[in-house]
């Protein structure tokens, strides 16, 4: 379960609205208590896809003509290193990352899955015509085959508590 406050979710939504129609991204820092990941801080990070040449240093560009910050996000690994170091000094760890899906549902895409890591929470915000709507958190299965919906608890109010039937993973698509 991922637990965060109304204010933290608001901050993520404001970032998603501000960067629309581009995808926004940021990091979730906090403490891992086993069953529950407690978010202590959320931090907005730049989408490196705004700088295609730099982005190409880190991920292969599949279709440069159509890939942009409007449909892709990438976090600068140097920023990650900086954020992780700072977090460690405050006793926090990286619990996961958030990003927005402009005019798309808050479900991971196949591209998301191919680039994801197990254990991290991937919080996705759907932004419809500039307005943040639904947020869902997902965790990649250990064999990397499927994203599973993660329970998201906002300020002690459980929302989006969709539990997959029979304990089977909820396919992302």
């Amino acid at each position: 379960m991922l637990r965060l406050s109304v204010e933290q979710l608001d901050a993520i939504h404001r970032h998603a609205a501000r960067d629309y129609p581009a995808e926004c991204c940021g990091v979730l820092l906090g403490q891992d208590a086993g069953e529950v990941k407690h978010v202590a801080e959320v931090a907005a990070l730049a989408n490196l896809r705004r700088e295609p040449q730099r982005a190409a240093e880190f991920v292969p560009l599949e279709d440069p003509g159509r890939e942009s910050e409007r449909n892709r996000y990438l976090i600068d690994p140097r920023e990650q290193l900086r954020v992780e170091k700072g977090a460690r000094t405050r006793g926090l760890t990286v619990l996961g990352y958030y990003h927005s899906h402009p005019d798309h549902p808050p479900r991971p895409s196949e591209y998301d899955r191919e680039h994801a890591w197990p254990w991290y929470s991937y919080l996705i915000v759907a932004v419809e015509k500039g307005v943040p709507r639904d947020s869902r958190s997902w965790v990649l299965s250990e064999d990397r085959s499927v994203f599973q919906l993660e329970q998201l608890e906002v300020a002690n109010v459980v929302t989006h508590a969709q539990v997959s039937r029979g304990g089977k993973p909820t396919p992302a698509q």
């Binding site: 892709r72 996000y73 990650q80 992780e84 798309h104 895409s109």
Partner: protein, 108 residues
Amino acid sequence: MAVKVIIPTPLRQYAGKQESVQIEAGTVGEALSGLTTQYAELRRHLYNDEGKIRSFVNVYLNDEDIRYLSKEQTPVKENDVLSIVPSIAGGVPSLNAAAGSILRCICS
């Protein structure tokens, strides 16, 4: 020479749940190879089938990306810190996001 390798949270479960591991090594490659010998489960997450570091894995020697040093041949010194930084990337299902929203407008 012992270097400290910082393990990112998703991979700690494959490294005895440790945040960092001390490895005796003379180069970055030796450090990573020593790490994956000690923790075999880490190997598939760090290397591809050809035995090369996966493209979605970034390795920093102190504050420098090893891509811009001598990659895996980069020498390491006592007390150096190697950080494994997983690439974080993704995007919407359709590459043509604008076309997608137009289609939805037509349909709804």
